[in-house]
């Protein structure tokens, strides 16, 4: 099964049928329903396939804290900028370069002469470190899917000059925070299929029991997403709260045990700030003490302690990224969106990353992203 399978996941007739089923459910609902997905790749798929403009007018699909670049906290960026400015060779994933810290981004540091290089695969960090006697700092960011890759390189006899500055985050903990917001209107959650490939869908069972809100794990092809939404909305309207797996070709209940074992041999969860959101209990993944020899916060503790206190950029105070990622507002509710805050001059992190909802709405056109069909239109 090669190309045809890929096309079958985008079959137009079946997509229309799923839309019809969604329309039917929402017509019966007779009220507005708000659900949240927690993955930038879901928002990209919604934008790319033009799904949002075809959602029923009384269905609101919000993006939550699903962009790792967006939730990396400014002091985490500052720490990495500080190491780069002290002459250390810094490696990170491309999206991180332009994220503003409190004063500077890694791109600013690079423009001023710092050595900051972009990785496409975690294994490149090992290759680069092996080729030099100098210390190399890997600014490791992302959720479960990239954290397991960082874990794997640290478990495979890494060179002694490779140091990891971890800003990895654990998504299920942030969902707890979002679901606990007092004025939240979110009635159900679409979980990210790739992260759940690692964690398994069983990780959401305590969440569903605690919050009495359904969770559906969905993939990223149009039919995956629409199927997930249908199953989520139907549960909401039937007042059911269960975990449903709509991405069975990748996700199992127990997840990838081998990857999870690697993850928790290297990392432990700790409380951490998620940019614009809140302090998330057990939201951060930090290196275990056993990995201290490769922990940049240990090796460069002195350099990091002497980091000057930055002041928050004035314009950032108006940024609505936090409220947007909590599902309380949408990009177009922000006064800066498309004006002071644009992809080439981002104020908030949601405009920096291609996984950020502001960037996706801006690039695919606000009209397409925001326009909702009038009641009764075809």
């Amino acid at each position: 099964v090669t190309a045809p399978a890929k096309l079958e996941f985008r079959d137009v007739a079946r997509g229309r049928a799923l839309q019809a089923r969604l329309d039917r459910a929402m017509a019966r609902a007779g009220r507005t329903v708000t659900v949240m997905h927690v993955c930038g790749s879901h928002e990209q798929a919604i934008a790319r396939y033009g799904l949002r403009a075809r959602f029923p007018s009384n269905l609101r699909v919000q993006m939550g804290p699903g962009c790792p670049v967006c939730v990396t906290d400014a002091p985490e960026i500052d720490a990495c900028v500080a190491l780069a400015e002290r002459g250390l060779h810094v490696l990170t994933y491309g999206d991180m370069l332009r994220v503003p810290g409190r004063e500077r981004s890694l791109e600013d540091a690079r423009a001023a002469g710092a050595r900051v290089d972009v990785l496409y695969a975690a294994t490149q960090a090992v290759e680069i470190a092996r080729a030099t006697p100098e210390p190399v700092v890997f600014f490791a960011t992302g959720f479960e899917t990239t954290a397991v890759a960082t874990a794997a390189i640290l478990l495979a006899d890494p060179p002694p000059n490779l140091f990891v500055l971890s800003a990895h985050k654990w998504v299920p903990s942030a969902m707890e925070v979002v679901a606990s917001v007092p004025d939240s209107k979110i009635e159900g959650y679409l979980a990210a299929g790739h992260a759940a490939t690692i964690t398994g869908y069983g990780v959401f069972e305590p969440f569903v029991a605690r919050h009495r809100r359904p969770v559906v794990v969905a993939g990223f092809e149009p039919l995956d997403l629409l199927s997930g939404l249908v199953l989520l909305v139907e549960q909401v309207l039937e007042a059911k709260a269960e975990v449903v797996n709509a991405f069975p070709r990748c996700v199992t209940r127990e997840g990838n045990r081998r990857a999870l074992d690697a993850l928790f041999r290297v990392f432990e969860t700790s409380d951490g700030e998620w940019r614009g959101i809140a302090r998330v209990p057990a939201g951060d993944l930090r290196l275990r003490p056993e990995l201290a020899a490769h922990d940049a916060t240990v090796r460069f503790a002195a350099e990091l302690a002497s980091t000057p206190a930055f002041t928050e950029r004035a314009s950032a105070s108006e940024c609505r990224c936090g409220r947007i990622m909590m599902g309380l507002e949408r990009p177009t509710d922000c006064r800066l969106f498309g004006k002071q805050c644009r992809p080439e001059a981002p104020v908030g992190a949601c405009m920096v990353s291609t996984e950020g909802v502001c960037r996706i709405w801006h690039e695919h056109g606000v009209d397409v992203a925001e326009r909702l069909p009038e009641e009764g239109s075809p």
């Binding site: 079959d11 695969a121 294994t123 397991v148």
Partner: protein
């Protein structure tokens, strides 16, 4: 960064595979995948690591799932027929 891409294995050497991503070939680490993989298998890849083998029977299961999801509403919508809103209204 969190981009997950499925691809097909064209060569395996120890714990590394060469994976074809619809025409682009990359070396991929197999340290994290929890099943044995061989040439011809599909894998889901994140930042250079395969995190899941996608078995042919799993693909068939997904297509059956889509069929079940759409059985009711597909009536009157012949496969390949133009979408309803493509017709002049």
């Amino acid at each position: 960064m969190c981009l997950g891409v499925p691809g097909q294995i064209v060569h395996v050497e120890g714990t590394t595979a060469t994976v074809d991503f619809w025409g682009v070939r990359r070396r991929v680490a197999l340290d994290l995948v929890d099943e044995e993989v061989t040439v011809g298998d599909y894998v889901l890849v994140h930042v250079g690591f395969a995190i899941r083998r996608i078995a042919p029977e799993d693909l068939a299961e997904t297509l059956a799932f889509f069929e079940a999801m759409t059985s009711e509403d597909l009536e009157g919508l012949a496969p390949g027929a133009p979408p309803r809103d493509a017709e002049p209204s």
